[in-house]
């Protein structure tokens, strides 16, 4: 098997396991479909944007939840953004944490929010590692 086919097969195998384990959902496939000769780095670009954006969001959330008097509307606004971006790139497990997180915001439940923040950070790091490994395979 030539190198290109081998790499493609590795990519597919690797990606398949990420879908199976729930890290990625069908929306990630949509991103892959949009990549073509005119924009060969599209997926890497979008995913990189997602990483940058998420780092900022997580910092903002951490700060917002450390305040004396917490503005749950503001926290919810951040989580809404996070839910949106993770959903748009197909980061399913991150998105699912965001759904629960928003419920805790509605209830103004600080403990719940703090647990979700930790979970969100963990899921983000997990999917980040997986995606970085995936792209290393395809290069």
């Amino acid at each position: 098997m030539d190198v290109v086919s081998q790499l493609q097969r590795q990519f597919v195998e690797h990606a398949t396991s990420l879908y199976r384990e729930g890290y990625l959902d069908d929306q990630f496939t949509q991103l892959l479909k949009l990549q073509d000769e005119s924009n060969p780095d599209f997926v890497v670009e979008v995913v990189s944007l997602f990483f940058e954006d998420t780092e900022k969001l997580l910092n903002n959330l951490t700060t917002a939840l450390q305040q004396e008097s917490i503005d749950y509307k503001q926290v919810d606004a951040h989580v809404h953004q996070f839910k949106g971006s993770s959903s748009s790139i197909g980061a399913q497990r991150v998105k699912n944490v965001c759904v629960v997180f928003r419920n805790y915001c509605d209830e103004k439940n600080l403990d719940g929010c703090l647990v979700c923040l930790e979970q969100a950070k963990n899921e983000y790091l997990l999917v980040r590692n997986k995606l970085e490994a995936l792209f290393n395979v395809s290069l």
């Binding site: 929306q27 949509q30 991103l31 479909k33 949009l34 073509d36 924009n39 599209f42 670009e45 979008v46 944007l49 997602f50 954006d53 606004a77 809404h80 953004q81 839910k83 949106g84 971006s85 959903s87 748009s88 790139i89 197909g90």
Partner: protein, 144 residues
């Protein structure tokens, strides 16, 4: 000069409005993949400025051909002015009321959807937006 504009007229020009950076990039790519020229705006105010809808702006057809828009696709939830409010402003405008407006939202709320459709939105799309959604819109644009 006029030949360039003629060729550009063949490709639909879409204004995409969304406060989320990733969503903006995704929608832009989806539209470009479907052979549209795309201008993006990060909120409704910027969109209104672009469209010439802000209070002190003159509304006129001669406002540069580059500004002519065949469709507007906007997120519903945005800080400041919502997509619904933007839809209202567009429908109130003599110049822009016939431009199709598509609303996107991550939340499946029937009241919200009905409200938008009743206000004259062309279509309501649930996020995350997919290629099939945009292809459907594109087919509609060629009929205009």
């Amino acid at each position: 000069m006029s030949i360039e504009y003629f060729e550009e007229e063949d490709v639909p020009h879409v204004l995409a409005v969304d406060d989320n950076l990733i969503d903006r990039k995704l929608v832009e790519k989806l539209l470009k993949t479907s052979s549209c020229r795309v201008t993006t705006a990060e909120n409704a105010m910027r969109a209104m400025e672009y469209l010439g809808l802000k209070e002190n702006q003159q509304q006129n057809h001669l406002n540069g051909n580059g500004r002519k828009v065949n469709m507007i696709i906007t997120d519903y939830c945005m800080p400041g002015m919502t997509g619904y409010e933007l839809l209202q402003k567009i429908k109130e405008s003599a110049v822009l009321k016939d431009v199709p407006v598509v609303i996107m939202s991550s939340e499946n709320i029937p009241n919200r959807i009905n409200e938008c459709l009743e206000k004259g939105a062309e279509r309501f799309i649930l996020k995350p937006v997919k290629l099939a959604d945009v292809k459907k819109l594109r087919r509609q644009l060629t009929k205009c």
